[in-house]
Symmetry: D2
Subunit: 165 residues, 4 copies
């Protein structure tokens, strides 16, 4: 089981990671969606994991930081220059887009907003690993659970977590 609640453990270990995936460039509308999603994730005290870049990733991190959340970016480069300015933790990898795999593996559940082939690779990889992916205005792929709002995504993640406790 991936959610560990050892008795007396510090608070930090009780958090789950929610992956937010989407394009490093996106429309204003998708940016706003991701920003709102980030806020809601932070309010639940979940760790926000993403690819660390711009667009959907930046928006989600911005939202999360404004609510005092914890944000993690798993970055393609060795140096991390592509990092958005709302990351608490920068994991530079030097793997290029192979880091997409790590974003998926580090997340217990994922939400996709918009996105192009990179996001599709994450969606497909997540589904292949048996992970749950919620989708807002993203690729219409068999296996993705379409949701209509950020609130619906959050509610579904809550229920998902409860099933494992």
């Amino acid at each position: 089981m991936w959610v560990q609640f050892p008795p007396g453990a510090p608070r930090g270990t009780m958090k789950i990671n929610v992956g937010v995936i989407g394009g490093y460039r996106c429309s204003r509308k998708d940016y706003n969606t991701a920003y709102h999603l980030g806020k809601l994730i932070a309010r639940e005290d979940w760790v926000l994991v993403c690819g660390g870049g711009g667009g959907v990733m930046e928006a989600a991190c911005k939202g999360a930081k404004e609510e005092g959340g914890l944000t993690v970016g798993i970055l393609p480069s060795l140096e991390g220059d592509e990092a958005n300015p709302y990351l608490d933790v920068k994991i530079t990898t030097g793997l290029g887009y192979a880091r997409n795999i790590l974003v998926v593996r580090a997340s217990q559940v994922l939400v996709a907003v918009d996105g192009k082939h990179g996001t599709l690779s994450e969606i497909a990889f997540a589904l292949n690993e048996g992970k749950t992916v919620y989708g807002i205005n993203t690729w219409d792929i068999k296996g993705v659970i379409k949701v209509k709002s950020c609130e619906e995504a959050i509610n579904r993640i809550k229920r998902f977590i409860k099933r494992f406790l």
Copy 2:
């Protein structure tokens, strides 16, 4: 440029790698398609790169070996027990399905036959890296070049290679 033809270099270095991706289980029809594809790839003296497992991968390797081709399987496990019996080179990775990335990166061009989410992750990752993917009876994703037969795939790859020489 990825196709190196240094003057006087041994033959081996002149080969390009064609990735064949598809499900580790597949229908008889798709098996036959992949088998035929493997034969054609070997006749062109290209190296066949795949995930090394069953189904489409096995069929393609079987076809290639029957024509004296060279086959490479990039395998998920540390031990390689999942390898099909038609591999000249087994690259065990211990990375699980993260090895999908390596199949894509090791191929200069790819052909997808059938396949589920694992194959989709390879298609998406390849397109994201700017690689050309030909598809036979596989995911209908923007960017994949649909072909109707193995012969068409081979002809298109030949033209693709010529553009880079």
Copy 3:
């Protein structure tokens, strides 16, 4: 440059990652050293990155958490059951010990305490990537900068950082 200080950026982005590497089992003496090291790293407001396991990693995280620091564990398994209970961020990878590479790449500078072949692989990989490694009671390898105390390590890291600002 890996240390980004964009004007007006949130505090989080100003932190550097210090990798602490060492055995997942260790002597009481090395445990105490790593524990003290973790405290000092947290007091500097640096992010502590490690392999997330027991021994030296656990000790450093415990120390860091007691000082309110931020701790990141890059874990070998998919599920993260091997995580020590002092991690704010758990990056599960499913890569086995190949995750050692990621610990190195995610750190701007590293401190090794004790350790066996796994730690040696991290030291060697870090030096190969041109990174600075400080060593306390660890492998005596050309390139590792031996330090006699945690305080000396911290002072040297401070000077190292200043050179890049």
Copy 4:
């Protein structure tokens, strides 16, 4: 078990991979050693796996090709321009020196000749994964089995293989 001998399987599957690791630049003496080692590996019909570059890697591949062996290079770059001209199979990875891990994982047994920190990272990683490493004029690390000649390395590998059949 990593050496598969399925009844009636094609010849290719019966081969084991021997990793040759060492510096991409080396002395004439070490070049000659690696060249001779490559010849002997090819005569045993083992697959030679290496990092695909110059120096020790090039020498071993050159020797192997002169004896009709099969050579595999697992390369740091996406394009493979650093490949030596004696490779039958080029596995381009785009992972930089993180590909060292893959050289180790793809080899059932390794021989180190000379080498700097990159080679040390491979030696240490191999020992950490429980693999056997024979060393000729290389890092004097606990766990490496020192051998005095290529012939001794080959004889020891033969005995090593027999223990697993």
